[in-house]
């Protein structure tokens, strides 16, 4: 008897507390940038950041990422196609952790509901965004030793000019 009255009393007191319910969807909650929602592929200086290294794919515990690498004539590697099956994705963020180029990022967007599961299969066109996403400034090809269009050997960050192997001078 006493415990029932006590319970009613506590419920009654709650009427005077601050409200925490968010009126979604009219009202959008704040989600931190690190929130793990819809996955995107970013760009840097207008170029695709993804170098098709397959690390995100191998890191993915549910194996929902598949891609195929290709190269342009200058030797720059990028994905020919890139597919994420969001109907399998568990938004663990391992792909983002694994990505050496900051290309793949999880975003604070979770509004991906679909009536047809098939629509949850995203291709590269659906994933690519225009900007660098959360991480500005890092351009993998500037740091890598590979020569690509517009960056010759020795023009990367912290690189000495290519050696002339025929010289005998010290």
């Amino acid at each position: 008897m006493l415990s029932i009255v006590k319970g009613l009393w506590i419920v009654f007191l709650h009427m005077f507390r601050r409200r925490v319910t968010v009126q979604y969807p009219e009202q959008k909650p704040y989600l931190a940038p690190r929130w793990r929602g819809r996955i995107i592929l970013s760009r840097i200086n207008g170029e695709e950041r993804c170098v098709a290294c397959y690390l995100c794919a191998v890191a993915c515990p549910v194996d929902c990422i598949a891609l195929q690498a290709t190269e342009d004539e200058s030797g720059r590697r990028f994905p020919e196609w890139f597919r994420i099956n969001f109907s399998r994705c568990i938004f663990c963020g391992f792909c983002e952790e694994a990505c050496p180029t900051y290309a793949i990022q999880l975003t604070p967007d979770f509004e991906m509901g679909e009536y047809v599961r098939q629509n949850l299969v995203y291709e590269k066109e659906d994933l690519l965004i225009a900007g660098p996403g959360k991480y500005a400034g890092y351009d993998f090809y500037r740091v890598a030793g590979l020569a690509i269009g517009g960056k010759d050997k020795g023009e990367g960050e912290n690189e000495a000019p290519p050696r002339d192997v025929r010289t005998l001078l010290p």
Binding site: Y54, L55, R88, P162, V165
Partner: protein
């Protein structure tokens, strides 16, 4: 056996190893770079440092390189020693100072020995902040990619290319911290074994350029044990598949066959599997002369069955590039008397003769490893670098055996590569080559002899006679051969393990002479081995199945007896003259072709059934040594493709044949074959049966890290399909299966925890460089007769055979281009020479011809114009014609023919 102590634990190891080898052999991990089991140690990279103690009481010890420390009885080292660990970590850090930040875009990534060793030593953060040294790359041709920035200066590449494969166009250049590994100038690597750089190089400097076109990481490749289909040596391979296409071929170690290496034809010839000429659907022609139209399998089968059912007599033409099972299924369907081997008459006679020799000679057949171990060799006939490339690489090792024995007398262990080199300098063991003209192996030979095939044969008969007077004498020997006889006899009798190798060069006499030499050696107490090359991957298997050649098959049709033919994986236009094949296909009423690649024969067929290549089927090939080796499907076929034996079984079932009803899997065919022919009795035992399981699991074709399985086909449907069933083998097309070490015949890839690169192989061997655990796979079917009472061959070719033309035309084989399937791979096709007529400089001058001038050639019923190529090593009176260039050129060489300079209209008579 020696007792060694590592980390205060005792181990028993074989004598004569170094401590690195010994430690790896007993399953310990120790980082290394420059040491390679096939090439020994040079102590260059300092990565294998350990603490070496003087004796059991020594507590201080000193740092030493394990790879340069002999594993003597009582040698005590510590791998775990703190200072040794620090030292190894610093070595990696130095190597990494200029290493580019390339892993994500590096084709080596995921199977990189440098990555593995970096992780093993624990170096994980860059401290060096200076500028990185960079290099420019070279274009090394269509097969091997060069990315010099990634080099760690371990010298493995030069040691393989120059010291092991005797290549001359690749070296190390420069000084101090700018040493450069490459060619003097950009250009195609000349060595036929350049592809091995991909596996030898512990970093991503050398990678597979053909893989780059459809790049896939090792962890994403679906792999299975396979056997190379591009020549008769039968090297073991690991093909890798992704998204339904074959992506690359890697070597699969087999201590008795190819060891650590394969040739470039074998490595880069795979692209025919993905080629535009692949057949994926059946094709039928309902009426003669009508357009062939695509059809579904049932319709095509029905039509084929009707055609065959209507026929009076159906003959079957087998193939040396189809599996034993496929050939046997065809033989079963058409009946033994109607089965013909699908090779030219000359090739068939040679193949049967080779088999007779192997079965009748007291000399054992030599495996590839036996050839490499031989300390004297006589090579006769063709240019083995072009026809059986890995045999040439083995021969290059054999010339090191005699000097190595000398070094052993100086107590220099064989693994001490620099020591051995210093001791023996440029010395070479005895290798004698008798060929029609210069070969790519001549630089390794002590002496060469160039002459027409009959003279090569006579030289052999003379050597045999000098060895054993009861073998037939040679009345007239060419003057230039006489001094050679004694020398060869001395070399062969002075050797402990001599080997006689013969390629036939299209001449039976050459084979017979080789057989006599080997027999004479054996009779005189020198246990020689005999190695006869085979032209294609299953030529020996086909010869074992028996039957007749192609001409009797044509005869059966011309005589009106047979009016239907089933042609199995064979383009007849490569086997006989175009006119003869045209006539044959015209005359025979119904033609059913089962093949994986479209060709001229398929284009003329009534029904074409799409067959599986080696990559999509299971079966057995028998290599030149008589070794039956099982290969497994790497991928499931696309379209309506089926294994040839399955098509043939279905045809037999459609004809109401009861004897094939039980043929559900490839093993049933093997059992039937074993029961039908006693020589194949071991077939069911050469590999574990399909029911074989480890801990209840099948062997996984996909590595444990295989990615993307819920996304690969998601664009088609999000509902994943179960993995395809495999009833033929204990392997499974999935990552769900056994990932550890299976029996040696089933090894789908070399991988071990911490060892992602090919170096993981160390963990699969009983002892480094020795057999795989549980014994090397494959079983030799052909053994020499016990009593070996066979007689010497007596038919020595006579001197001065009459000539039937002004020139003797001899075949010129090319590693790139002469073999049908590899020639369809774009990379190989780029390296294949254009057809030509090879002339000696004297003859060219006599006929006032210069390089690239056109000549008129007519030989063996074929005539046409070809550009001249002047071959300095060709003796006068002979013309060399390249073999197998897309049905061009006559097929039965050597033969007499005419060559004329069209400009002056006169031939130059000899």
């Amino acid at each position: 056996m020696a007792k060694i102590i590592v980390n205060e634990r005792e181990y028993e190891v074989r004598d004569g190893q170094n401590m690195l080898q010994a430690a790896l052999s007993v399953g310990l991990d120790l980082p290394y770079f420059c040491w390679h089991p096939a090439m020994g140690s040079i102590g260059a990279c300092r990565q294998c440092a350990v603490r070496l103690f003087r004796d059991a009481n020594d507590t201080r010890g000193k740092l030493a390189m394990a790879c340069m420390t002999p594993a003597n009885d009582g040698t005590r080292i510590s791998i775990d020693d703190a200072e040794a660990r620090d030292f190894r970590a610093s070595v990696i850090e130095w190597l990494m100072a200029s290493h580019p930040h390339d892993c994500p875009v590096c084709d080596e990534g995921g199977e990189c020995h440098l990555q593995d060793m970096t992780v093993m030593t624990g170096h994980n953060y860059r401290r060096y902040s200076g500028r990185k040294r960079t290099f420019r790359n070279q274009d090394l041709g269509p097969l091997v990619n060069h990315e010099m920035n990634r080099c760690i200066q371990c010298y493995r590449c030069v040691r393989f290319y120059r010291d092991y494969a005797d290549g001359r166009d690749f070296d190390v250049f420069g000084i101090r911290n700018q040493v450069y590994y490459g060619r003097q100038f950009d250009g195609v690597l000349e060595s036929e074994f350049s592809g091995n750089l991909v596996e030898i190089c512990p970093t991503g400097v050398f990678t597979d350029k053909t893989l780059k076109g459809h790049y896939t990481r090792k962890w994403d490749l679906q792999t299975a044990p396979s056997v190379c289909v591009h020549c008769g040596v039968g090297c073991n391979t690991i093909p890798g598949e992704r998204y339904g296409a074959l992506r690359r071929i890697y070597n699969r170690y087999n201590g008795e066959v190819n060891g650590y290496f394969i040739c470039d034809r074998g490595r880069f010839g795979y692209e025919f599997v993905n080629g535009a000429r692949r057949l994926h659907h059946a094709r039928v022609r309902t009426e003669r002369g009508a357009e062939a139209a695509p059809a579904d399998s049932d319709e095509a089968l029905r039509l084929a069955a009707t055609l065959l059912g209507k026929a009076k007599r159906v003959i079957g033409i087998g193939s040396p590039r189809a599996s034993l099972e496929a050939n046997f299924a065809l033989r079963t369907l058409v009946g033994e008397g109607n089965f013909y081997a699908g090779v030219s008459e000359k090739e068939w006679r040679l193949a049967r003769l080779a088999l007779d020799i192997m079965q009748g000679s007291p000399a054992k057949a030599a495996s590839l490893a036996d050839v490499a171990r031989a300390d004297a060799a006589l090579v006769r006939g063709e240019d083995v670098t072009q026809t059986a490339p890995m045999l040439a690489l083995a021969l290059r090792q054999s010339v090191r055996q005699a000097p190595l024995r000398k070094a052993a007398k100086l107590r220099i262990p064989d693994w001490d590569a620099a020591g051995v080199r210093n001791a023996v300098q440029e010395e070479k063991g005895p290798l004698y080559i008798a060929s029609t003209f210069g070969t790519r192996l001549d630089d390794a030979a002590k002496r060469t002899y160039r002459a027409p095939p009959d003279d090569i044969a006579r030289l052999g008969f003379a050597v045999a006679h000098a060895l054993d007077a009861s073998s037939p004498p040679v009345p007239v020997l060419p003057a230039n051969a006489r001094p050679l006889v004694g020398e060869i006899v001395d070399a062969l009798t002075g050797a402990e393990e001599p080997v006689v190798l013969s390629g036939g060069c299209g001449s039976e006499a050459v084979l017979r002479a080789a057989a006599n030499v080997a027999m004479a050696l054996c009779r005189k107490g020198h246990p020689a081995r005999l190695c006869l090359t085979a032209p294609e991957c299953n030529s020996t298997g086909l010869a074992l199945l028996g039957g007749e050649g192609l001409e009797p098959a044509f005869g059966a049709v011309t005589s009106g007896e047979a009016d239907a033919v089933i042609i199995l994986e064979n383009d007849l236009y490569r086997r006989a003259g175009a006119a003869a094949v045209d006539a044959f296909l015209e005359e025979v009423g119904s033609v059913v072709v089962i093949d994986h690649t479209d060709g001229e024969t398929a284009a003329r067929a009534g029904v074409v059934l799409p067959a599986a290549t080696f990559a999509e089927s299971d079966g057995v090939f028998v290599n030149n040594e008589g070794r039956a080796q099982r290969f497994y499907s790497v991928m499931t076929p696309r379209g309506d493709v089926r294994e040839s034996w399955r098509w043939l079984r279905d045809l037999a079932l459609a004809a109401g044949r009861a004897d094939v009803e039980a043929w559900a899997t490839v093993e049933d065919v093997d059992r039937a074959l074993a029961a039908a022919m006693p020589i194949f009795a071991p077939l069911p035992e050469i590999a574990p049966p399909a029911g074989f399981r480890i801990a209840g699991q099948r062997i996984a074709r996909q590595p444990g890290r295989y990615s993307g399985r819920t996304a690969i086909t998601a664009n088609v449907s999000v509902h994943e399909t179960p993995p395809p069933e495999d009833t033929d083998s204990p392997l499974v097309f999935s990552m769900e299966g056994y990932q550890g070490q299976p029996p040696s015949a089933l090894i789908p890839r070399f991988w071990a925890p911490g060892w992602n690169s090919v170096q993981a192989l160390n963990k699969f061997q009983e002892e480094i460089g020795g057999p795989l655990r549980g014994g090397d796979p494959g079983r030799r079917l052909v053994e020499p007769a016990e009593d070996a009472a066979a007689d010497y061959f007596a038919d020595v070719p006579r001197h001065g055979e009459p000539s039937a033309g002004n020139y003797l035309f001899v075949p010129a084989h090319h590693i790139f281009g002469s073999e049908e399937l590899s020639a369809l791979a774009p990379g190989i096709a780029r390296l294949a020479p254009r057809p030509y007529a090879g002339l000696s400089p004297d003859d060219a001058r006599g006929a006032s011809l210069a390089e690239a001038n056109e000549v008129e050639v007519s030989v063996g019923g074929w005539s046409g114009r070809l550009p001249v190529r002047i071959i300095d090593t060709l003796p006068p009176g002979m013309v060399a014609l390249p073999v197998g260039f897309a049905g061009r050129g006559p097929l039965e060489l050597p033969a007499w023919g005419e060559l004329r300079n069209p400009r002056d209209g006169r031939g130059q008579a000899q």
